[in-house]
Symmetry: C2
Subunit: 383 residues, 2 copies
């Protein structure tokens, strides 16, 4: 029984292999390709959701792992969902927690049924199953929900990755089943109560390490199960850029054209341009926010490391081509001073600018695709 | 030769001993009594000057000691002054650095000519004279400049404080002389270049520990020298509130009615009400900003310690009587979550609210004085 619509994703324009389109969610339409700023624990580092909306963010990403540990999905559900809790009325994508369990958590035990791990905060033992991962995300009220997958470490051999893939596919099936049931349940509730429970999209995650054949296998198995969109996980884990781009290509060629494609956790502006050229629609990355806090600022003329002595008496804006609040109101000398003095405002103004840079880049890319001049745009912007 | 106007301070209303009036500065008029949020190093912790203006701040306070050490007054002067550097076009008061030298700096040697101290940042030796303290503040472009004083530790005996007062008065004289000369110099420059150099006000600081006779002596010696306003320093250093209020009374009775009176570094909302009742016009304090960072939030129903378990599932606003951004958009449960998760946004939203609370209090006080009902207002607000 089909209880919700097929993914509302429409392609509007193709420029080479780069695509622009519209993705419909319960909290509004998103123009693709897009970048998702990261609100790990339900907050962008130092910024309000109002500011992030003004900068042109269409969707935020939050982390299931972090929110499950603190404050817990039950509190957020009681608050009326994550949107209301954090005061953001646009779409939200949540990851499944898989990546954080395999990168952040202490001791973990992988079992067929799920994964046992210890919270990095207090050592508390937690057992996460595919079903539980979906349940948490449903409680958060996420618009785009990710399946639970295993993210094998970069140094694992092919045999391990083959085995891991089997588990990931099995978990994806279970996630799909649970998501269907839960959605059906919510839809019935809506019919009975008259209170709308927004419908979420469910995305599968292609794994397979740096092996093109495993990537192909993973993609085909996920398509067989059927998802609203397909993510590529397990890249940008230390491999050379060339290998990453090749893996994107080898995966994308097996993904359906009419579903959105999401490259998880990537990357630099150059990576994003290379991936869009290969047909990717969605991105998230900690780079703009994390780099901002370390004083690495993206500008139209390259990276500015704001602590450098050369900016001590530089009374020009950070990026004359940027019209964000930081660039319109402050000089590099002031930003350097705030950074050196460990002022909280430094984190805020830097983060604001870096996110503005990424969102402007995405907006420029969409425009270039619409005007069928993406190749030229990329050539100018990849040094 | 009088080269600048007498202080433009006019009293508009008196309610008991509480006064409301207008203080004119080169960067605009200020309604008294007022509270100055602290922008220690040229930034309010986590807030923009735009926000602070929207909250109703009329004037900011910055610290000469911090700005001299980092980034240095020469850079700020080259930037076009502190107003431009930090993007604030309202008035700025700067302290002289005296208080920080005696509370923050490492080894210090008091000499007749000035004070030698080591930077708490890098141990660098610095010699600050009364003249230098004024020069720095002039370079910053401050609207209200404070004289250099010695702030004796609370445990010093009367004999020490007598000696210290002699030095403080001597330094005040030298500050006045230097300020006159520098102002004259700048006025000539203005006449020659046609470029206006804003005229600053100079305030003396009454010291004298907890000794009414020394406070009287100090006040009289400063009035003899003649200042645009008079501050009371060296209070709220650990003495009982009753003693502080008594010292305020004993000092105020010797201060001229037609000059603004500034109680330095005080205090709680209750302290402010008690001081205004005793004729004080100006305040600054780290309390609202520092407490905000520690999760102590001022509300119309008392202090909320936001980390408390009781707010875990409290989905009501922090203060229903407050219309600041924090209270309008978030619940106590969310603010608690941000605080527990060490989110930068927590510092920002908490600081915003606490400053909003203080500025609203001052605005309410001014209204109460204008309507000659300050006593009633105070009775309701001091528990």
């Amino acid at each position: 029984m089909v209880i919700y619509n097929v993914t509302m994703f429409s392609l509007n324009q193709i420029s080479g292999s780069a695509r622009s389109g519209t993705l419909q969610t319960a909290h509004g339409d998103i123009q693709t390709p897009f970048f998702m700023p990261i609100a790990t624990s339900g907050a962008i580092k130092g910024l309000t959701t109002e500011e992030i909306k003004e900068l042109g963010a269409q969707i935020l990403l939050s982390n299931t792992y972090h929110l499950h540990l603190r404050p817990g999905e039950d509190i957020i559900e009681k608050a009326g969902g994550l949107h209301k809790f954090m005061n953001w009325d646009g779409p939200i994508l949540t990851d499944s927690g898989g990546y954080q369990i395999f990168s952040l958590a202490k001791i973990r035990k992988l079992k067929d049924n799920g994964v046992e791990f210890q919270s990095h905060l207090d050592g508390k033992k937690i057992f996460l199953t595919p079903e539980k991962a979906i349940e948490i995300q449903m409680k958060l009220g996420s618009d785009i929900i990710m399946v639970l997958d295993e993210c094998p470490a970069a140094d694992k051999d092919k045999k391990y990755i083959e085995k891991s893939l089997k588990l990931t596919t099995e978990w994806a099936k279970r996630c799909k089943k649970y998501h269907l049931q839960d959605t059906e349940h919510r839809t019935q509730n809506t019919a009975e109560s008259g209170v709308l429970s927004p419908v979420s999209l469910l995305f599968g995650i292609v794994q397979g390490g740096m092996h093109a054949d495993l990537r192909e296998q993973s993609a085909k198995e996920l398509i067989e199960i059927g998802f609203d969109g397909y993510a590529i996980g397990g890249l940008s884990v230390g491999e050379p850029n060339k290998v990453m781009y090749e893996m994107i290509e080898k995966t994308v060629q097996h993904l359906p054209e009419d579903k959105p494609r999401y490259l998880m956790g990537v990357g630099t502006p150059e990576d994003i341009l290379e991936a869009i050229e290969r047909g990717i629609d969605m991105f998230d990355c900690v780079l703009p926010t994390r780099n901002a806090r370390h004083g690495y600022l993206f500008t139209s003329t390259g990276i500015v490391r704001i602590k450098n002595e050369q900016y001590k008496e530089d009374f020009t804006p950070l990026d004359p081509d940027c019209d964000c609040y930081t660039c319109k109101n402050f000089t590099k000398a002031y930003l350097r001073h705030l950074f050196m003095a460990n002022e909280i405002l430094s984190l805020r103004l830097n983060t604001l600018h870096n996110i503005a840079f990424y969102l402007k880049l995405m907006s420029d890319i969409r425009k270039a695709i619409k005007e069928d001049r993406f190749d030229d745009f990329k050539m100018i912007n990849v040094k």
